[in-house]
């Protein structure tokens, strides 16, 4: 990462942020402190009232003919944090992101992007927001830097700043070696990264990403995660929709669960993943029958703790907190069950997600 260029050009270091800004401690984004853009982004309308949220949307409804895609959804995305938007297919995630990106009008509700009413002043909202759709095309005939230069022009970046900005962006998304190469020669994952660089051209304070990790190889995913974390650390409000829950857990500070067009939950990741969080646990034993008997005895009297056999020799129990799991292990050992494995099955986010989608079946 170009430490002396790019984000550093406006006083931010683009390196060393990755991974260290986990939940809880990265929530220091002070909107006005990001850089000097606060003044030029707004014509002084209601910027100050924008407060701590890059995105504020309340009571957003939207129907497509008889199909209601959004039925009164509320979401806020604070600066300096990565907020994950999670929900099953058809929950309305993409519709919501299109509305936030000022491309689609909701039937009702209020949408504010960086303090600007996105419905009344879409142009002001656009200046503050970067958006990457789930599927998009690139101009195959251009070279990588021509592509970004075009969007730099479209965002009216100063001519003398554009080349520097483009180089910084390319190194930010690890495409610096593709400078001058045609876009059609890029792989799917590289195009995805180029799309992300495109969304960042004008240094948006709000970043909306729809399924950004789809099509990325594991290495690119980790780099994407680090990039989003460093952007959040720089004070950007990031909203990411994704299906890959395990990954969101590492990226996100907050999770907004969406189901059938409504907000089904809004959690800080720290609450979901902390000591008080409950998850299902997998217990593995050399003596499956003994384990089953001991578990039945140990869980007797406690409600909601159903052993669920799936793999041979392995039993799933829960949801349990970490303390409860430790207690259960002690009890099993005391009953002389040869336990050879105890681990959380799936993540807390997954549990929350499954609990939310349970009602659908």
């Amino acid at each position: 990462m170009a430490g002396d260029d790019g984000w550093a050009a406006d006083g931010r270091a683009g390196d060393g942020r990755a991974g260290d800004g986990r939940a809880g401690d990265a929530q220091v984004g002070v909107p006005g402190a990001v850089d000097g853009r606060a003044g030029d982004a707004s014509a002084g309308d209601d910027w100050a009232a924008g407060g701590e949220f890059g995105v504020e949307a309340y009571g957003v409804t939207r129907s497509f003919g008889p199909v209601q895609a959004l039925g009164g959804l509320d979401i806020t995305v604070p600066y300096g944090q990565v907020t994950a938007l999670v929900g099953p297919n058809g929950a309305g995630k993409t519709t919501l992101l299109l509305i936030l990106a000022t491309l689609l009008k909701p039937d009702s509700g209020t949408v504010r992007i960086a303090g600007h009413d996105a419905l009344m002043y879409p142009a002001r909202a656009r200046d503050a927001l970067g958006w990457m759709p789930d599927t998009f095309g690139v101009y195959d005939q251009l070279t990588v830097d021509e592509y970004l230069a075009f969007f730099a022009d479209a965002y009216e970046l100063p001519k003398d700043e554009a080349p520097r900005r483009i180089r910084a962006l390319l190194s930010l998304v690890h495409l610096e070696d593709k400078l001058g190469q045609p876009v059609h020669a890029l792989s799917r994952g590289q195009k995805q990264r180029l799309g992300l660089a495109r969304a960042l051209v004008h240094r948006p304070r709000v970043l909306l990403l729809d399924e950004p990790a789809s099509g990325l190889d594991p290495r690119s995913r980790i780099e994407l995660r680090d990039l989003l974390r460093s952007l959040a650390a720089d004070g950007v409000a990031v909203l990411v929709s994704s299906h890959i829950l395990s990954e969101l857990e590492e990226i996100a500070d907050r999770v907004v669960l969406v189901d059938r067009g409504r907000t089904a939950g809004d959690h800080a990741m720290a609450d979901l993943a902390g000591a008080a969080a409950r998850a299902r646990w997998r217990v593995r034993s050399l003596d499956p029958d003994g384990l089953a008997a001991a578990l039945a005895a140990a869980l007797d009297g406690r409600t909601g703790l159903e052993p669920a056999a799936d793999l041979p020799g392995t039993v799933e129990v829960g949801p349990l907190t970490e303390a409860e799991a430790a207690g259960l292990l002690a009890e099993l050992v005391a009953r002389k069950v040869p336990v050879c494995g105890l681990a959380p099955a799936g993540s807390a986010l997954e549990s929350a997600y499954l609990a939310m989608t349970e009602s659908r079946r």
């Binding site: 497509f64 299109l98 509305i99 990106a101 000022t102 491309l103 689609l104 009008k105 996105a118 419905l119 879409p122 142009a123 656009r126 200046d127 927001l129 958006w131 759709p133 599927t135 998009f136 095309g137 690139v138 101009y139 005939q141 251009l142 021509e146 075009f150 969007f151 022009d153 479209a154 965002y155 009216e156 799309g195 495109r198």
Partner: protein
Amino acid sequence: MTTRGAGLVARQEIRTRLRTGRWKTLLAVWFVIVNGLGLLFRFALEAGGTSDFGSEGVPMFGGVLLGVLVLTLLVTPALSGQSINGDRERGTLAALQVTRLTPGDIALGKFAAAWGTGLLTLLLTLPCVLWPVLEGAVGAGRAAVVLAVMALLIGVVCAVSLAWSALVARSVTSVLLSYVTVFALLVGTPLLFLIGLPLTAEHRRSGTYEDTVDHSERVWWLLAPNPVVVLADAAPRLPKRRIVVDDQVYERAPESDPLGDISREVRDARRGPYNISSSGEPDGASVWPYGLLFDLALGAGALRLTAARLRTPLYRVPRGVRVA
């Protein structure tokens, strides 16, 4: 809307266009076909010896221009007929719409790129169009007017094709509709005129004898939007030739002038059967201003519609259209 934004979009369009496909080959083929046909036409005229005064330039100019007009109008819908829905299908339009570019920038830029390409195809036909001018058979003024009208008509077709591509979700459909529009202008208008003639005709009875008089002055305006009519009627008339027969001096229009012939036909149609002026003035009032105005209004309306269709946030999402 700014010229900067429109220019940016236009440059982008032209650049991507130049790098896709074999534009140079296509243009070379176009050049050879059009000029080859013009040259063959010329040889045919000389071999046939149809011209009275030994000048084949006049019929060549008219014939070549009408041919070039029809050919360019047939090529033009391909230039912008999938400009917008093609971008939607490829998923590149929405990224433009969230920038500072306004709907007007995008519409005008794409139009300018298409029109520019259309003018380039017109430019390539110049050798055989200008031959009669260099020969002295046709005045430079006539050539200039005719080329200017042709350029405007190409722009109109570009704008209409662009509007179709903004209105219709599938690019195949919009290109087809663009061709249908060109066909309607070229063939549909005379058809309507011919249908309109008997419908507006006057039936007179004198005793047992029934007579039908066509009143072309009631339906002449159906012909006006036709590009061929506009072009032919807008072309300045050739100077009349003096013919001396038995010490009498007659003035007559040059023969074998396709543009002049069409022009006289439509002006006669506008005048109708009963309004032949006694002063010997053979011409009716001109038709082309109405036609050209109609066509330009059509093009301007199409551009406005295109810009309106690009406006976001979008409320009504047409069926099959991807927002992003």
